[in-house]
């Protein structure tokens, strides 16, 4: 994936060219959704967060330097939007749990298999959940996780450490079964 935004593309987007903006941000939409779903655990809210983040990115284009990595810049806006959503959404646990009822096959089986881990993730502090999703679901290197979250590398490491420690009983159980 191209990490640095094309200078001409940015200039065109800054001048109001929507197609140029789509060329820049469009390839990142799927990854942005995955980050949002990892944070919010709700499809509709995740899509809303990505759309709102894109609008904010459009308005903040002047902050993007031509040589700056594009992905951390955009995902940081998505993460920030998710934090805003989390702060204002007291009902999320109830709503997500409603979809995690036992199923019999196919898609429902997958939902059931991941339910325990999703429940464990939701119990984490938002900042720990965020770094775990970025690191282990989006498969991003730690440097980029630090850039997206806006904290030093050491803080990222310790947040991952704390998050994994809290979820260790779950992973140890999985390891014992596999």
């Amino acid at each position: 994936m191209r990490l640095e935004a094309d200078r001409e593309l940015i200039d065109r987007a800054k001048a109001g060219d929507r197609l140029a903006f789509d060329d820049m941000v469009g390839p990142l939409v799927n990854q942005a959704f995955r980050l949002a779903f990892g944070m919010l655990h709700d499809r509709a809210s995740s899509e809303d967060a990505v759309q709102e983040a894109a609008v904010r990115a459009w308005r903040k284009l002047s902050n993007l330097r031509p040589e700056s990595p594009l992905r951390p810049w955009f995902l940081a806006i998505v993460a920030n939007q998710c934090r805003t959503t989390l702060r204002s959404r007291w009902w999320s646990v109830i709503r997500v749990d409603q979809i995690e009822t036992p199923g019999s096959s196919g898609f429902e089986d997958r939902i059931v298999r991941g339910a325990d881990l999703r429940a464990a993730l939701r119990k984490l502090a938002a900042d720990q959940r965020e770094v775990l999703v970025l690191r282990y679901y989006l498969d991003l290197p730690l440097e980029e996780v630090a850039s997206i979250t806006g904290v030093p590398m050491g803080t990222v490491k310790s947040r991952i450490n704390r998050g994994l420690a809290a979820m260790r009983p779950h992973f140890d159980a999985v390891e014992a079964l596999t």
Partner: protein
């Protein structure tokens, strides 16, 4: 374990995929107006010209004052002439390049290399040369002929591949590079230091799963690795940044308790016995460096993530008495990463005045006579840190 976590996370979260039309919906929801930056140009011509003129005047006057040494690096730290600086030994440090502000608060730098410079600010040499990786945390051998350091991700790989870090050694001029450790994904070896007899290397190991985290010792060739400390579960940041006592029998290090990298300074025997706390738990301190006479530790407090707290350099007696601030920088400026000169009379450190990139400075061991020994051209964005002052000629 790392792979298991990744697999289970994918399994748990891939239950939902974005709608096929999400990308087109994103584009359709953009507001009709142009991006906000265009509003800058709605200023009337007269106001715009006046504004630019004022900016130019401030920049020119500021540049003149700075180039003549009139502007201090902090209100309490005016620069002094370089003529009073020692010319012996060399200072090794990491220089990272990238966008403004990179290297702090999670902003990415593009790459980093190790350089050395004489304490009077002359004779800058590049010792490593990578374009995507990060070579950092250099430490000298007692004789000044070798340097150990860590590489945040393997040299030669593309950027954004930092999943582990390993220890390397090289000659004082950057030659004869040798890899000492080779860690799997999720394990980070860093901040190596060489024992006073030159035979052992102490370093930090941080394991994302927590199992290997602690201070470790090994022979100079990377063999015979043994654990020295095992941080308690409450120390999520692990034990970090060790340094040997001058007689080589003890290590000092910081034990980080929380997400913000706050640390408490400890001393422990190299056999892992006799652990004792040196600094109060109520303060946050990191990267202790033992004075050559064995009586003191110098260190700094970390810059809190997302906070307006500044960072300064402190010194304390090894028995925990006499805590004293040597610098008094105000946010957003800071001073950190201190290291003693070989004779213990001076301290080198990195300093940020709040308006420029991070620079190298030295001061007397009591905090007096601070002076910037090297700074960059204004158009270059770099971040200098992790200093070490060796005996190399």
């Amino acid at each position: 374990m790392d792979e298991l976590i990744r697999r289970k996370m994918h399994e748990a979260l891939e239950v939902e995929q974005p709608a096929a039309d999400l990308r087109s919906r994103v584009l359709s929801t953009l507001p009709a107006n142009e991006p906000r930056m265009r509003r800058v140009w709605t200023l009337s011509g007269q106001w715009a010209i006046g504004f630019v003129a004022v900016l130019l005047a401030v920049a020119v006057i500021g540049g003149l004052l700075y180039s003549r040494g009139v502007l201090p690096i902090s209100p309490a730290s005016p620069p002094l002439p370089k003529s009073g600086l020692p010319a012996h030994g060399r200072i090794a440090f990491t220089m990272q390049f990238g966008p403004p502000g990179c290297g702090s608060s999670g902003h990415l730098c593009d790459y980093g290399n190790i350089f050395s410079i004489e304490p009077n600010g002359t004779g800058l040499r590049r010792l490593t040369n990578v374009a995507t990786g990060l070579d950092q945390d250099p430490a000298w051998s007692p004789t000044g002929d070798r340097i150990v350091f860590d590489v945040a991700f393997p040299m030669g790989s593309g950027g954004y591949e930092g999943t582990s870090s390993n220890l390397f050694s090289m000659d004082a001029n950057g030659g004869s590079m040798r890899q000492l450790t080779s860690e799997p994904t999720g394990v980070f070896d860093g901040d190596p230091v060489i024992s006073p007899d030159g035979n052992r290397i102490a370093f930090e190991r941080f394991d994302l799963s927590g199992r290997l985290t602690g201070i470790w010792l090994m022979n100079g060739d990377g063999s015979n690795i043994v654990r020295v400390t095992m941080p308690p579960a409450s120390a999520a940041g692990g034990d970090q940044r060790p340094d040997f006592s001058p007689d080589g029998t003890q290590l000092t290090f910081d034990r980080d308790g929380s997400d913000n990298g706050d640390g408490v300074i400890y001393i422990v025997g190299i056999d892992g016995q006799g652990l004792r706390q040196v600094t109060p738990t109520s303060f946050n301190f990191v990267r202790p460096r033992w004075s050559p006479d064995g009586s003191k530790l110098v260190f700094s407090n970390p810059q809190g993530a997302g906070t307006a707290a500044s960072r300064n350099i402190y010194v304390i007696e090894t028995d925990g008495s006499g805590l004293l601030a040597l610098t008094h920088m105000s946010y957003p400026g800071f001073a950190g990463g201190p290291a003693w000169s070989p004779d213990g009379t001076m301290i080198v450190y990195d300093v940020y005045a709040g308006t420029d990139s991070i620079q190298l400075a030295v001061m007397h061991a009591d905090g007096s006579n601070p002076i910037v020994i090297w700074h960059h051209a204004p158009s270059t964005n770099f971040f200098a840190a992790s200093t070490a002052w060796g005996t190399a000629p």
